[in-house]
C-alpha cells in the first residue's frame, strides 16, 4: 500500500467542502429542530418564522463551532449564517436568514465586531430594510486585548448576547426592547484570550503562527491569528490571575456586584484544564467580592483546534440576571 502524503490530519474530505458538509452533518444530527435553507449556509429553527417573536440572527466565519449554529434553538438564536472558515458570510445569505426568521416583529442581528462581519451584516440589513423588514443590529466588542474600544473584536462574550437577547425575544418583547437589552448586554461584557498552540485552517493547511514549547500568546482572537503579546508559558493560576486582573481593570466593579463568567476553550484544551482555570477565576472574583452568579465552562466559541482559553465576564444587573437564568 502506498504511503500517502498528508497535508493535515483532519477528519475532513476536501478543504473546500468543510462548511457544506458540516452543515449537512448538523442537519443530519438534529432534523427535528433545525433546517437548512436550501442551497445556502444558513441554519434555521424548524419553527421559524415565529409569529409575534422578534427573530434573532447571528453568524460569522465557520471554525468557531458550536458558534453559531449550535446556538440555534429555543430561547437563543432563530438562525445562524455560516461563512467560509474564519471568513464572514455574505450579505445575500444573511438576507435569506433574516427573511426566514422574520415573524412580523422584525429581526435583530448579533454581529461580532470585525470589518468583514460588520460590513456584510450592514449590507444585508440595508437589503432587508429595502424589502420592508425591520432590522436592528447589535455589535459585540468584548475583546479587551485591543486597546481602542471602538475597534475591539467580538469573541466568546457574544454567547451572552445570544442567551439574553434570546430570552428577551422569547418573552415577546418588541424589536426595540430586545435590541436595547442586547445592547446593554454587549456593553457589559469583557473577554480575554490566551493561546498555547495555533490552529490550521483547512484551506491553507498550515498553522497560522508557530510557538515554542515555552511560549504562549496573550490576547488571541478567535481566527487562528497571533495574540497581541507573546509571553513565557506560565501555570494556570498565574495566567488566570493576569487575565482576571486585566478584565477587572476594564470593568470598574464595586464590591457586592454580580457577574457571570464564560471560561471558554478555544478548541483542543481539555475540559479538565478549563475547570482548573475556572477554579482560580472563581476564587479571584470572590476575593474581589464579586458575586459569581452563573458560570459556563466549556467550548462555546472556538478557533478550530487551537489550544488555550478565553475568560469572559458579564456584569449583571437584575434585568440581565433574570434573562440569563
Amino acid at each position: 500500500m502506498r504511503r500517502p502524503k498528508v497535508d493535515m490530519k483532519k477528519l475532513i474530505n476536501h478543504p473546500e467542502h468543510v462548511v457544506d458538509e458540516m452543515l449537512e452533518g448538523i442537519i443530519a444530527a438534529h432534523p427535528e429542530k433545525l433546517k437548512r435553507l436550501s442551497g445556502l449556509n444558513v441554519i434555521v429553527r424548524k419553527e421559524a418564522p415565529i409569529k409575534g417573536k422578534v427573530g434573532l440572527v447571528s453568524g460569522g466565519g465557520s471554525g468557531h463551532e458550536p458558534a453559531h449554529a449550535g446556538f440555534v434553538e429555543e430561547y437563543m438564536l432563530d438562525a445562524a449564517v455560516a461563512g467560509e472558515v474564519f471568513t464572514s458570510p455574505t450579505p445575500d445569505q444573511i438576507l435569506e436568514a433574516i427573511k426566514a426568521v422574520d415573524g412580523g416583529k422584525g429581526v435583530l442581528l448579533i454581529v461580532k465586531n470585525y470589518s468583514g462581519d460588520v460590513m456584510n451584516f450592514d449590507m444585508a440589513a440595508e437589503m432587508a430594510q429595502a424589502e420592508g423588514i425591520e432590522v436592528e443590529q447589535v455589535i459585540v466588542r468584548d475583546d479587551i486585548a485591543v486597546d481602542n474600544k471602538e475597534d475591539r473584536r467580538g469573541v466568546a462574550g457574544t454567547i451572552f448576547v445570544h442567551k439574553i437577547a434570546g430570552a428577551a425575544a422569547s418573552e415577546g418583547k418588541s424589536l426595540k426592547e430586545v435590541s436595547q437589552i442586547a445592547q446593554k448586554t454587549a456593553e457589559n461584557i469583557w473577554s480575554m484570550g490566551v493561546s498555547l498552540s495555533p490552529c490550521i485552517v483547512p484551506a491553507s493547511g498550515k498553522p497560522g503562527f508557530t510557538l515554542n514549547d515555552n511560549e504562549i500568546e496573550i490576547g488571541t482572537g478567535i481566527h487562528g491569528e497571533q495574540g497581541i503579546e507573546r509571553q513565557w508559558f506560565k501555570q494556570a493560576d498565574q495566567l488566570a490571575e493576569e487575565m482576571i486582573n486585566n478584565l477587572l481593570n476594564e470593568m470598574e466593579f464595586t464590591p457586592g456586584e454580580e457577574a457571570a463568567v464564560i471560561t471558554n476553550g478555544l478548541g483542543s484544551t481539555p475540559l479538565m484544564e478549563l475547570y482548573i482555570v475556572h477554579r482560580k477565576v472563581a476564587e479571584l472574583l470572590e476575593r474581589k467580592q464579586i458575586q459569581l452568579q452563573k458560570s459556563f465552562v466549556g467550548e462555546y466559541m472556538t478557533s478550530l483546534e487551537m489550544a488555550g482559553c478565553s475568560i469572559t465576564v458579564l456584569k449583571l444587573d437584575d434585568q440581565l440576571k433574570s434573562y440569563l437564568n
Binding site: 467560509e84 450579505p91 468583514g116 460590513m119 456584510n120 486597546d147 487562528g224
Partner: protein, 209 residues
Amino acid sequence: MQLTVEALQRWIINTNEKMQENKEYLSELDQAIGDGDHGHNMARGFQEVVNKIEDNSFEEAGSLFKQVAMTLISKVGGAAGPLYGTAFLKASEQWKEKTTIDQETFGKGIEAAIAGIKTRGKAKEGDKTMLDVWGPVHTYVTNQPLERENLKKTAKEAMEKTKEMKAKKGRAAYFGEKSIEHVDPGAYSSYLVFEALAGSITNEGDANG
C-alpha cells in the same frame, strides 16, 4: 483612450487569472497581519465572477460590472467581499449604458468606487488598506493619459508603500505597530486588479487584444 466592453470583460478575466496565481501569496500576506484567507476569498470570488460572465456578451459596461459586483458580494465574504463588491457596484452606476468608456468616464467610475469603499469601510487613505492603491490610481487616471506601464508602476508603488504604514482598519489594526513592515493584502490584491487592467490596454491607451 477607449475601453470597449470586451476589453473591460478581459480586464475582469485577467484579474481572475492573477488572483488564482497569487492565491497563496495573498493569503500569506494576510496570515502575517490578518487571518490568512484573503487569497482564498479573492480567488473564490473572481472564479465565480468569471464563471458567470465568461460565456455572456454584455451590451454595455453597466450590466457587466453590476454582475461582477453582485457576484463578488455574494461569493467573497470577509471584509474584501463587501468592499470590492461595493466598489464595482458604484463604478457600474457610472458606466451604465456605455458601450465604450473613455478615460474621463473611467476615472469617474474609480472615483465612485472609492467613495463606495469609504462609506462601506469607514477607512481613509493612509489606514493601510486597499484604498491606498485605489487612491493613487485614481489620481493618476484623472491627471495623466492612461498608459500600461505607468498604470502598473503607480499601482505597484502604491501597494509597496502600504508596507510602511501602520494599519488602522481591518484585522491588521489589531496588530498595531506590529503591522508595519508588512504589505497590506487588500492593497496587493488591488494592485493585481490594476495590473490586470494594464494588461487589457495597449501602450497607446487603446484596448488591445
